[in-house]
Subunit: 146 residues, 2 copies
């Protein structure tokens, strides 16, 4: 069962309708290998001849983001982009060259922040972590060029 099917099932569970536009957006999203913005998706859908209203794109992405089927990451240029995700605590490695994103779980940061929080009397409820670097493919490409 792939991402789309899980999303569809979950949305149904939550009482949302499976509409044509939502289906089209879900399908299109999977074609991205790098984070995308709402505006980019709108433009790409249009180019591809898929007719979906601007407001619907914004609404659908927000819906998916609320359920954590999409995550936001910082792209190399600075703005936020969406990437497909699975619900739950997750972090990302973002390639500065090609923009590719790799998700990873297993986070030991809570314990790391624990001592700090105690010292500062700050009650920590969550965190956002994202790492930047160069992915395997881009390292190789670079070596070949040199």
């Amino acid at each position: 069962m792939g991402w789309t099917e899980r999303v569809v099932a979950h949305l149904a569970d939550e009482g949302h309708r499976l509409t044509g536009p939502r289906r089209a957006i879900l399908d299109y999203i999977l074609r991205y290998s790098v984070p995308f913005t709402s505006e980019e998706l709108i433009a790409d859908l249009q180019k591809a001849g898929v007719h979906v209203g601007r407001a619907t794109v914004y609404r659908t992405l927000e819906l998916l983001h609320n359920y954590q089927w999409l995550s936001l990451v910082h792209r190399p240029e600075g703005e936020h982009g969406y990437v497909v995700a699975e619900p739950g605590h997750q972090h990302h490695l973002v390639c500065r060259r090609c923009g590719m994103v790799t998700a990873f779980q297993g986070c030991e940061i809570e314990s790391l922040l624990g001592g700090l929080a105690e010292r500062l009397n700050f009650r920590i409820e969550g965190h956002w972590l994202e790492a930047f670097g160069v992915c395997r493919g881009c390292q190789r490409a670079n070596n070949e060029r040199v």
Copy 2:
């Protein structure tokens, strides 16, 4: 030597001119106790009767951000806001109630990410970490109310 003086000295070093508008913005920035956006600063300067063009505010904030004299953090409502910072590796605790930001250094995350990077063949060059929670003051205020 305070933040402003360090910034002024650094900008001079880098060959930038110390203009009236820049001075005004630097002075005003220090009055914020929570992260602020470009638009907020523009509005506040106007209210305060300080006349600085909109474009200049955007340009100056970007300049300071490039030199890391300002950091961007996610505010409780979701958007990005600027906070004064010192160049170098730094992270922030952001209070979800009042928006107050506490910076901290001493970061052991590199080592934590090291093993992961090796497994994934990803060369990590940096990271962004930000923690959310409730600051000391807001915890106390809440207790009193309950």
